[in-house]
Symmetry: C2
DNA sequence: GTCCGCTTGTCAACAGTGTTGACTTACCCG
DNA sequence: CGGGTAAGTCAACACTGTTGACAAGCGGAC
């Protein structure tokens, strides 16, 4: 069609779309999906509520397009297996943890939507299960990799949603030692 | 409508309140908090939407009063420590799992509400952390008990929310063996 | 018997939500 | 200049949770 012409024509539309996206990202991360209204996003971006829908199709698609889990754990999952549990926990807790936690919180609470749910599943599989499963030796490597992912989601729950104070305020070394050893039991099989 | 009038004449409004409660419980468990409207609950109970609010105060309080985590794991947490991980996983997977899972799903998704969130935290502490922490020996018993709770919430996530097919379809013995051993590492410290 | 108070229920309305369609504006190409 | 199209605006729709005014039936007091 006229996509090339349209994109080269004028940057005005793409600019406000970008503004809407960043406003949505901020509000979704801070208040969650349900508590953030399209009108609030529009106001924050200085745009009309109808324009938000016209640019992104729906509030749900706006959420999916803006708040995405993008943690990269390749360096962890590709490292030595005997220290994987510890390195996994450390990476989760130290590398841009604020982003990881708020994203987890926002997405998990929005899993009413099947689209959000399948997106979350896909992210977990891509980040942890798929890189990990083929490397595990012993019985049921795939199942064990998925249980590792379950343990990770449990840690994210504790920090991002339940906000367990003792866990949040514990030292990274302690958590790496304790929870890392627990995950390591799944890796070793 | 004549039936409702008749019931109100014979006994009390507590009957219709009960009907509203069971309708709410069913719909919340099946569709979650956000997707269930007060009007749908009222229709299912054969009552007026305004009556729902008058009886329970608000949709949020209705949710809190109807869907509550009531799992009892005393027999597990008071048993022998050396097999606690395995017995915990087995108990979670076999004892009224449908109720446990749907309740976990409904509550976790509704943690936008601070009331729901603190209720969920209280339930986890009462069911797992408080009975377990004083029994653990070694360093940081409280922190380790809370990490056990985190691991549990991860397993619940995998089954109830992410609906991980390999985990759901795995045999209880496999999960007890693998994830139980992982939790046991936290218990042993 | 009549009135009062109380619970139980009904109705219409409010402000807020996501979303849609009609409409205007502004721009680039021919 | 004229036409087509993307960008933006506006009012409206159906829906949400919640509220206040009001009716109906009941038990007890005088």
């Amino acid at each position: 069609m006229t996509e090339a012409a349209a994109s080269s024509r004028s940057g005005s539309g793409a600019l406000t779309k970008e503004a809407i996206g960043t406003a949505a990202r901020r509000l979704f991360a801070r208040q969650g999906y349900a508590a953030t209204s399209v009108r609030a996003i529009a106001a924050e971006a200085g745009a009309d509520p109808a324009l938000v829908i016209r640019h992104f199709g729906s509030k749900e698609r706006l959420f999916l397009e803006t708040v995405a889990i993008e943690g990269r754990f390749d360096h962890v999952t590709s490292g030595p297996l005997e220290s994987l549990g510890a390195r996994l926990v450390e990476s989760l807790l130290t590398e841009a943890p604020e982003l990881t936690f708020s994203t987890w919180r926002a997405m998990l609470r929005a899993t009413d939507s099947d689209l959000v749910r399948s997106r979350l599943i896909a992210a977990m599989e891509e980040m942890f299960i798929e890189p990990l499963a083929p490397r595990l030796s012993g019985p049921d490597p795939e199942l064990r990799a998925r249980l590792v992912a379950a343990a990770i989601s449990g840690l994210l729950d504790a920090v991002a949603i339940l906000a367990d104070r003792l866990i949040v305020e514990a030292s990274v070394e302690q958590l790496v030692d304790l929870y890392g050893r627990s995950i390591q039991a799944l890796v070793d099989g």
